[in-house]
């Protein structure tokens, strides 16, 4: 068993600034897990499914997903993850600017675990991310191979 293997955080976020701010605030919350960042859906999915280090082949992971991506819709990525035999248990946190009710419902319907709207106000944003970090530090992530 890979109980000792640390959970890897996979972030799919096209805005580098956002990614940087998210990472910073996660670190500030004291989370030191490895964080891999992808700027678009294609490379992100490729990592998730095919990379020898990715959750598809190896090790537990948690996905931070933005819905507005340049090459594909975040909901498609969510559907692919949740529809996959191996990956469907991987927790997915949707972290996006979209606060459309229909979109939120759709994400939960597709199996998203947490949906967070990025607050524009930075203090609340940083706060939300730090709380997410605290949340990440306590949740149990299932093994992808289980």
């Amino acid at each position: 068993m890979n109980a000792q293997q640390p959970v890897r955080i996979v972030m799919i976020e096209d805005d580098e600034g956002h990614a940087r701010l998210i990472e910073k605030n996660i670190r500030r919350a004291g989370i030191s897990n490895q964080l891999v960042h992808f700027l678009d859906g294609t490379t992100g999915l490729d990592y998730l499914f095919n990379n020898p280090e990715g959750p598809g082949k190896n090790g537990p992971a948690l996905v931070l997903l933005d819905l507005n991506l340049p090459d594909m819709s975040g909901t498609d990525i969510l559907a692919k993850i949740k529809g996959d035999e191996k990956l469907h248990r991987v927790p997915v946190v949707v972290l996006t600017t979209t606060d459309d009710k229909v979109e939120i419902q759709r994400c939960y319907d597709l199996g998203c675990n947490v949906y967070i709207t990025k607050p524009v106000n930075y203090e609340s944003f940083a706060d939300a991310i730090r709380q997410l970090g605290l949340f990440l530090s306590v949740i149990q992530v299932p093994d992808a191979d289980a």
Binding site: G17, K118, Y122, F125
Partner: protein, 496 residues
């Protein structure tokens, strides 16, 4: 074009009708004439027969009388005398009647007049013979009889009578021919009238048919046009709906996409602030320990320039954030599904006034609500937003040195309800009466918080409810916002 056609039709129709009537009257006249003619003809025949009868009567009476005389002279039988007495008195009346009857023809009259003395003479002779015989003087009577030209006279009378008869028949033929000719002429005229009448009838019939066909055609065209119109309207509505949806989506996407960079600007500004704080703290520490290392420039940069720059970035991004949120709100409201419900406006406005009371008191304004107000059937949130916006605005833009008095009233006009929010505030310049309803536009002195969104939102809401909003205002005297709403909300495209 159509009315011209119609006029033409009317004119022709009138012509047809009038000529038809004239022809009918002519036809009646002709028939009457024909009838009279045939009556006349019948009368002529009758007349001729009467003449012939009269001649017959005369000759028979003469013959019988003569025969009676002759017989009596040979054998004085009372029977013969009786015959004579019976017939002789009829001779003169018959002659008189004949004369009377032939008075219409001068020739015949002349013939009869010439006949009269012969007949009278013959009659006198017969009478004389009979008188002589009656008195017993048979010999004289017989002598006179044999010496008299009685038989030849009778023969003469017979000839004359026959001639009169023949002439009368000739006359009848002549007259009948004339009548027949006349009749033929009348019939010809009648035929002509009938033909003309038939022509007029056919013409008017054709006219009516043509006109009805045209009418039907145009009706059909109209119907087609109508259905097409409905289709066209539906199509346009769908187009508009699509365009509107597109705009809504656009607004939504744009505001979202604008938000992303803004998150960065705000986020990194905060990071900068954090870093600046660290730098400033460090400058303080260094200043304490080795003041010669800290120049004024460094001090200013860390303590003044950076915080100032960050402050401006912050306030600007905050403002931008508000604007984006406003657009987002508007687009969201445009997509919100409206759920109509009964709204007792007295209570609704009262509640809004109560909610705004503290704020109004702070700003030195008060509400006067004129009840009753007509109730509406509309989306509650939309109506509340409209009125709370207008009422809040009214407390906001007061004329300095005057307590704000805000009157809210409503009345019903047919299927519309008209509400007015009147204030005695600073008013709006005439050139801004339209502008204030535009997004991000504000009027007058910019001394109040706001983004210029409220009224734009109010107007968008009023439009969505099928209503309008307008303003009447005199600068520095006050403004009246007039909201005109249908009493009952109806889905777009159904009744509106």
């Amino acid at each position: 074009m159509f009315s011209q056609n119609e006029q033409q039709f009317n004119r022709w129709m009138l012509v047809g009708l009038i000529s038809g009537f004239i022809l009918l009257i002519a036809g009646f006249a002709l028939v009457a004439a024909g009838l009279r003619n045939s009556n006349e003809s019948a009368r002529l025949v009758r007349h001729t027969f009467e003449v012939k009868d009269a001649i017959g009567d005369l000759t028979v009476a003469l013959e019988r009388s003569e025969a009676a005389r002759r017989g009596y002279l040979i054998e004085p039988d009372p029977y013969r005398r009786q015959v004579y007495e019976e017939w002789a008195p009829q001779i003169v009346p018959s002659l008189n009647r004949l004369e009377e009857l032939v008075s219409d023809s001068p020739a015949q009259s002349e013939s009869v007049r010439r006949l009269r003395p012969i007949v009278v003479k013959e009659l006198a002779e017969i009478e004389r013979s009979m008188d002589l015989a009656t008195s017993g003087d048979f010999a004289t009577a017989r002598a006179e009889f044999s010496g008299s030209p009685g038989l030849s006279t009778l023969q003469l009378i017979r000839d004359r009578a026959r001639r009169i008869n023949a002439v009368e028949e000739g006359l009848l033929r002549e007259r009948q021919d004339a009548a027949r000719n006349q009749q033929n002429f009348v019939q010809l005229l009648l035929l002509l009238t009938g033909t003309l009448l038939a022509g007029v009838a056919a013409f008017t019939f054709w006219l009516v048919r043509k006109f009805t066909r045209e009418l039907l055609d145009s009706q059909k065209r109209l119907h087609r046009l109508n259905t097409d119109l409905e289709g066209a309207v539906k199509e346009r509505t769908a187009d508009l709906q699509r365009a509107n949806d597109e705009i809504q989506r656009f607004a939504y996407i744009v505001s979202h996409d604008l938000r992303s960079p803004l998150v960065n600007v705000m986020g990194f500004t905060s990071e900068m602030e954090r870093a600046d704080k660290i730098v400033a703290d460090f400058v303080t520490v260094v200043e304490d320990k080795q003041p010669e290392l800290v120049s004024d420039e460094v001090r200013f940069a860390a303590r003044e320039d950076l915080p100032e720059a960050i402050g401006f970035i912050r306030s600007s991004t905050r403002k931008m954030d508000r604007l984006i949120n406003a657009i987002l709100d508007l687009s969201r409201q445009g997509r919100r599904v409206l759920t109509p419900e009964m709204l007792p406006m007295d209570r609704l406005i009262g509640d809004i006034a109560a909610n705004l009371e503290v704020l109004a008191a702070e700003r030195d304004a008060r509400f006067i609500i004129e009840e009753p107000m007509p109730s509406l059937r509309h989306d509650r949130l939309a109506v509340e937003q409209i009125f709370s916006n207008l009422m809040e605005n009214a407390t906001k833009y007061l004329q300095s040195g005057r307590q704000g008095v805000i009157m809210v009233r409503g009345r019903r006009e047919g299927s519309r309800a008209i509400f007015e929010v009147e204030d005695n505030g600073r008013g709006i310049a005439p050139e801004d009466h339209e502008r204030i309803f535009e997004l991000f536009r504000r009027s007058g002195q910019q001394d109040q918080q706001g983004e210029g969104i409220g009224l734009a939102n109010v107007r968008a809401l009023a439009y969505r409810l099928g209503g309008t909003i307008t303003v009447r205002s005199v600068l520095s005297e006050g403004s009246t916002f007039v909201v005109d709403l249908p009493v009952e909300f109806s889905e777009e495209g159904k009744d509106q």
